[in-house]
């Protein structure tokens, strides 16, 4: 009987990194496990009805994290409606009521967090900055999931030469450190927001491909898939109706961690001055500017840094908790 082989899939986009152990149990092992009823029935005995258990098992921390993420999404989408001054406007007339300058000290009645080195409202820039980060974060991962996921499910189900070719293809992209690849494509494509979404999707798809491929391999050896094959279902039907619903939860879970990594990747590009060009505020270019003015005013660094951390941490936590609860496989990070 073949032993289940342990394979490690590392995810490292940008500067954060997430790693998970993904096992590919051989079919014999799985069936044996199911026959002896070692996994599912035992859990069924001890766990209360599935839906309530799920809510409870996620814990209150999870819901706090969801709320914080939701707040950021709300802030980013409502930035235009909120009572915030124009993020790129600098009042240069000293007698105007909203005149405010970084070198003049804090606080100001009309500017909650003060202004930056050229007199622009910091709070407004942080909120508008979240737009770029969030749009790029969710947009690029959504693209990566569609592309990488489609290839992954095909690769994992058909195996054979398609799998080999797609794996080599993915490995080529994984052979570049993420920021280096992103920089090269920035030079190739350009730096508009759409370009950046595309670039981070190109960097991220191999990881999502691997995740979806691994879970497809696992599920395609289950009995109901074998039964469908024996009944003569077309592969396209099996992929669509049986495997797709199975792999979506883990794909979304990894996708959430991916969003955090994509936000970091966008931040890294902004930090080195290769993301959406100024004066558009992004968390990354604000942090870079803050690090340049560090001896004069710490708020310029701290505010965008805290903003970014307060989005990445909760979304990482949400992804991590969901994986722990949804995935019975062992995920280490």
């Amino acid at each position: 009987m073949p032993e289940p082989s342990e394979r490690s899939v590392g995810i490292g986009v940008g500067l954060g990194s997430a790693v998970a152990n993904i096992s590919e149990p051989a079919s014999a092992m799985l069936i044996a496990e199911d026959v002896f009823g070692t996994t599912a029935p035992v859990e069924g005995l001890t766990a209360p009805p599935a839906r309530r258990a799920m809510w409870k098992r996620l814990g209150w921390g999870f819901w706090v994290a969801v709320a914080i993420c939701a707040l950021w999404i709300l802030a980013a989408s409502l930035a235009g409606v909120l009572p915030l001054p124009n993020p790129n406007f600098a009042q240069l007339n000293p007698s105007a009521p909203d005149y405010c300058f970084q070198s003049l000290g804090h606080p100001y009645a009309s500017h909650l967090l003060g202004c930056d080195y050229s007199g622009r409202d910091i709070l407004s820039r942080v909120v508008y900055g979240s737009r770029v980060s969030l749009i790029v974060g969710f947009g690029s991962i959504a693209m990566g999931l569609v592309f990488g996921g489609a290839l992954g499910i095909v690769s994992g189900y058909f195996r054979g030469w398609i799998d080999d070719v797609l794996n080599v293809f993915a490995n080529v992209f994984l052979s570049f450190p993420s920021l280096v690849l992103a920089l090269v494509i920035v030079a190739f494509l350009g730096r508009t927001q759409t370009d950046i979404i595309l670039i981070i999707a190109v960097v991220a798809w191999p990881l999502l491909f691997r995740v979806v491929r691994a879970s497809t391999i696992e599920y395609s050896q289950r009995e109901y898939v074998l039964a469908a094959q024996a009944l003569g279902s077309k592969p396209s039907r099996i992929l669509r109706t049986l495997l797709l619903p199975d792999v979506v939860p883990s794909a979304i879970t990894y996708g959430l961690v991916g969003v955090a990594l994509a936000v970091v990747a966008e931040g890294a590009l902004s930090f080195v001055g290769q993301s959406v060009p100024s004066p558009t505020p992004t968390w990354g270019n604000m942090i870079y500017a803050g690090s340049q003015y560090i001896t004069q005013d710490v708020t310029l660094l701290i505010v965008p840094a805290v903003a970014m951390f307060s989005f990445i941490l909760p979304i990482n936590y949400v992804g991590d908790r969901l994986r722990q609860v949804l995935d019975n496989r062992q995920g280490v990070i």
């Binding site: 590392g10 500067l15 790693v19 920021l179 280096v180 030079a187 970091v264 290769q274 690090s291 951390f309």
Partner: protein, 321 residues
């Protein structure tokens, strides 16, 4: 059978390497800034066509690619555009800083992560374990471009703790003045190490908890060995398996981090040279650095694959069959 597997792996690596050069060349040969015009600046158009001819720019894509690949394989990387010096010289001047940064940070990360992980594993789910796990989870959400400036703020600028030299302090070579060099490189390396500490602590802790439940550990306890001896001599080696694998994948993250750290601390390494080259559309330099970094990454991962045999005797025996 084993030979076949090895042959297949070697073939895969070669195909990957070939495709990596192709992708790099494809992406960088289409840079919006034309090489000829970057060199010539405002010089007359005849200069541009002359430079283009020298750089093979008027040939079809694959002709240019194989010409470039041939040059690459014979170690001729050409000249950078601004300033026009051989890229090999440029790389020789800069790779040391990046390499030192990565090695230094990994030494730091292991020194910190191994004891942390051991103590967490010994008292799994205890107070120390829980706080260490929470702390490492938080640091995983802190990218280097936040950690770097904050460390600069805390340890070079704020008065009571200004223990380290500030940004862009001159860096003496490691071999002539190791003490000053390591002192100047401390904060940059620490910036890079913080993320690794978190990754290693989590992986080693998980594997360590599993190892500590094995029979041979029970046996060692029964023999009356001290806890530290059990941990370091018996439990550590079999627990490092996942950490080593991930260490290989981490190299990519570390190179990315090194780029950021070099920019943050004003160090002249491969990363800051790459950023400079992308900024000034210096295409040959971008190509060269990207290729070198990618090849180094692939080779390191292969070497780590081979290192399994050293760490785990079971793998050695399996390969010997």
């Amino acid at each position: 059978m084993v030979h076949l597997v090895r042959l297949r792996r070697l073939l895969e690596v070669l195909v990957t390497l070939f495709l990596v050069t192709l992708v790099t060349y494809f992406l960088t040969s289409k840079l919006p800034g034309n090489e000829g015009s970057v060199i010539c600046g405002s010089a007359p158009p005849s200069c541009v066509t002359h430079e283009d001819a020298i750089l093979y720019l008027n040939h079809p894509f694959f002709a240019r690619y194989f010409h470039w690949l041939g040059d690459l394989l014979t170690g001729n990387l050409g000249n950078s555009l601004t300033p026009p010096i051989p890229i090999t010289t440029l790389i020789k001047q800069t790779y040391g800083v990046t390499l030192e940064l990565i090695v230094y940070s990994q030494v730091m990360a292991l020194i910190a992560a191994v004891p942390l992980a051991m103590w967490s594993a010994v008292r799994a789910n205890g107070l120390f374990d829980k706080s260490a796990t929470a702390l490492t989870f938080a640091t995983l959400s802190l990218p280097a471009f936040i950690v770097g400036p904050v460390l600069v703020l805390l340890f070079t600028i704020s008065k009571p703790f200004s223990l380290f030299p500030g940004v862009a302090h001159s860096l003496p070579p490691l071999w002539s003045d190791p003490a000053t060099n390591l002192y100047v490189m401390f904060l940059p390396s620490l910036t890079l190490a913080i993320g690794s500490i978190a990754v290693y602590q989590r992986l080693l802790r998980a594997d360590m908890i599993a190892t500590l439940e094995e029979d041979f550990i029970v046996m060692a306890r029964a023999k009356g060995l001290s806890t530290s001896r059990i941990l370091f001599r018996h439990a550590l080696r079999p627990s490092t398996f996942t950490m080593l694998t991930v260490g290989g994948v981490q190299v990519g993250t570390l190179i990315t981090g090194a780029v950021i750290v070099e920019i943050t601390f004003g160090l002249t390494g491969l990363g800051s040279t790459l950023i400079h080259a992308v900024g000034s559309k210096d295409l040959p330099t971008v190509q060269a650095i990207t290729i070198i970094v990618a090849v180094a990454f692939i080779v390191i991962n292969r070497v780590i694959d081979l290192l399994y045999a050293v760490i785990d005797p079971r793998v050695r025996r399996a390969r010997a069959v």
